[in-house]
């Protein structure tokens, strides 16, 4: 399987996820900002509108009060007994008039321009009303009481009723304006709700999409990972089998080369040696030259036989196949003793001789490697090799009195190779060693396999 279709979606997925989550966040941020802004707007415009309404109402109230009050002032003026009181009333009238005008102006400023027609009417009517009242002040003092009262009750009362009606109309306008503003607010709220609903729905949709994509992607990655893991395991297993096959092929090769060397080359050389002897028997006594050559041939053949013998034993000792494990181990022990001076003691149960080939070879090679380590690294003086049978397993231990090593840290190729051999036959392999306290290799091999 090629790698590109696997890496493709992974590279494409990441920007997609980032963009998706980014836009989701942005959407939420926008929605939040918009909602906050709108709410703030609504709050301020509502407050303003209510404030205006209140001020309009108050101003109109003041206008109404002014209308009544000015009429009362003018009646008081008519009823005044002396000029001084009359003049004070005129002054009060002017003051009230000013206040009322200001109140109406304030009201006009707060009213919607489209509704200002009614207000203008009210304003001009008020001016007329003022003029009517002013006229009273111009009535001569002597018939002030009679004509003034009549004028007041006829002209002014009627006019005042109209004015009040107009003021009520303005009041209605103000109320309408208030209601319109409420309607506007309601509409703004409705719009806000609609937009928020849309955004939330959109966010939910994008979120669901993202969640789906994320789950799909996670599952896919998980599957991929699992597959990789399985592939890794398979490869490891394959490698192990391969190395085991390699080991057994090597062993088989050694066995056949050893046998070939011994049975063919060795025997031929032995025959050659003997034939040389036979030839020597026919050499005339005075042919010293020929005899020398024959002797030289014999010496060469003898040396070659020795070389072949050593080679075959080193490759694979023939006693391992001819007589079994114990003689081979004993031979190995003797060889190591002779070569290195290390005392090697082999204790093996006779039953250990009847082992299947694979077990026998495994134990022999493990012991060989362990003894090799003893001689090469451990500086041991003596080694004990023990092989015995326990229930349905063969137990081997090789223990030396050498300088040891840190078994947790050092793991030479030799140890790894030994362990590999043992594990392949389903056995257990342990090395116990502490610096200065020797090394012990323990092996347990099941017999059933």
């Amino acid at each position: 399987m090629s790698l590109s279709p696997k890496t493709g979606p992974r590279l494409g997925g990441r920007p997609l996820l980032v963009a998706g989550f980014g836009s989701l966040l942005l959407l939420m941020l926008l929605a939040g900002g918009y909602a906050l802004r709108t709410l703030e707007q609504v709050r301020t415009s509502d407050l303003e509108e209510r404030n205006h309404h209140l001020r309009r109402d108050r101003a109109l109230d003041r206008v109404r009060t002014g209308i009544f009050q000015s009429a009362i002032i003018m009646r008081d003026y008519l009823l005044a007994l002396d000029e001084k009181t009359a003049a004070a009333q005129i002054e009060r009238f002017a003051e009230t008039r000013g206040q009322t005008d200001r109140a109406l102006a304030e009201c006009a400023a707060l009213i919607d321009p489209t509704e200002s027609a009614a207000l203008h009417e009210l304003q001009s009517e008020l001016q007329l009303y003022w003029k009517l009242l002013e006229f009273i002040s111009q009535i001569p003092a002597e018939n002030r009481q009679v004509r003034g009262s009549e004028y007041l009750s006829k002209q002014v009362r009627q006019h005042r009723a109209e004015l009040i009606q107009m003021a009520d109309q303005v009041d209605a306008i103000s109320a309408r304006q208030m209601a319109a503003s409420d309607a506007r607010l309601k509409e703004t709220f409705g719009r806000l709700r609609g937009r928020l609903t849309l955004i939330v729905a959109l966010a939910l949709g994008v979120g669901l999409l993202l969640a789906g994509f994320t789950i799909w992607r996670t599952l896919r990655l998980e599957r991929e990972l699992e597959q990789r893991y399985r592939e890794g395991l398979d490869a490891q297993q394959e490698l192990k089998e391969l190395s085991a096959r390699l080991v057994s092929a090597q062993e088989e090769e050694r066995r056949s080369i050893s046998r070939e060397l011994h049975d063919e080359v060795g025997q031929s050389l032995s025959a050659l040696l003997m034939e040389a002897g036979n030839a020597a028997a026919h050499v005339p006594p005075d042919a010293t030259h020929v005899r020398q050559h024959v002797d030289s041939i014999k010496k060469l053949a003898e040396a070659s036989v020795n070389i072949i013998r050593n080679m075959t034993l080193l490759l694979r000792p023939s006693m391992l196949d001819d007589f079994g494990l114990v003689p081979a181990l004993e031979w190995q022990a003797r060889e190591v003793s002779k070569r290195t001076g290390i005392r090697v003691q082999v204790t093996a149960a006779d039953s250990a001789g009847e082992l299947p080939d694979a077990l026998r070879t495994c134990i022999y090679r493990v012991v060989q490697e362990a003894l090799h380590n003893c001689a090469r690294h451990a500086q041991a003086r003596s080694v004990r090799v023990v092989v015995h049978q326990e229930d349905s397993k063969i137990v081997l231990s090789v223990e030396d009195d050498g300088r040891g090593f840190d078994a947790r840290r050092v793991r030479g190729l030799g140890l790894v190779g030994m362990e590999e051999r043992v594990r392949h036959l389903g056995g257990a392999f342990h090395v116990r060693s502490t610096p200065g306290a020797g090394t012990k290799v323990d092996v347990e091999l099941p017999l059933a396999s």
Binding site: Q267, G277, N306
Partner: protein, 214 residues
């Protein structure tokens, strides 16, 4: 006339041996076997005085063939002629009933002498094998720090050991030493006990290792 059976899977080897042996006027090769099974069959058919046997042979190896031949005819004198120069082969051959062990590279020099020795009931080993066994014995003694059990034997027992190892029968030993047969048997048992040995081949092997016989 000594009748000889050759057992070796190499024709060249057998031819060479035949040439070597038949240069002697009193030796005659009566059969040639190219594997162990054939050797057993021919030994039964020809009843030779001496069998010269290789170890590495197809079908049945030389050690097993020797065991079968000696089982059938305890008087058969088997000379092992092998490439193998290790104690395990020598000991197993002797235990199987062989009386001489020669290395192929010294066949030409020693074979005639070996045949002479075993027809007289003695054992014979190639000098290289002899020194190997001796060396290993000394090495073992040294290693185990054990006392040489030979020191435990009395002078009389040493005399008996040597004669037995040389292939003499109890009767011959009794006659030579002027002792009763019963006394010789007692000596012999004591020797085996003291040396921790169990059979005649082991006794012979011991004697070789000690250098008592050659």
């Amino acid at each position: 006339m000594t009748r000889i059976l050759l057992a070796d899977d190499h024709t060249v080897m057998r031819n060479g041996l035949r040439l070597l042996l038949e240069r002697q006027p009193d030796l005659k090769v009566v059969g040639e076997a190219s594997d162990g099974r054939q050797a057993v069959d021919l030994a039964a058919a020809e009843n030779p005085d001496v069998v010269i046997m290789d170890i590495a042979m197809p079908q049945l190896n030389g050690v097993e063939a020797t065991r079968q031949i000696v089982n059938r005819n305890p008087a058969a004198a088997v000379v092992i002629l092998s490439m193998h120069k290790d104690e395990s082969y020598v000991i197993r051959s002797l235990k199987a009933g062989a009386r001489a062990y020669l290395l192929k590279d010294s066949a030409e020099a020693d074979l005639i002498a070996a045949i002479g020795a075993i027809t007289e009931g003695k054992s014979f080993f190639s000098p290289a094998v002899r020194s190997l066994l001796k060396e290993d014995y000394m090495h073992q003694l040294e290693e185990l720090g054990a006392e040489d059990s030979y020191e435990l034997l009395t002078n009389r027992e040493r005399e008996v050991l040597q004669l037995v190892a040389e292939g003499k029968s109890n009767k011959q030993v009794a006659a030579l030493l002027n002792l009763s047969l019963y006394t010789v048997e007692t000596h012999r048992n004591h020797i085996l006990q003291k040396l921790n040995l169990h059979s005649a081949p082991e006794l012979i092997l011991y004697a070789v290792r000690k250098g008592i016989i050659s």
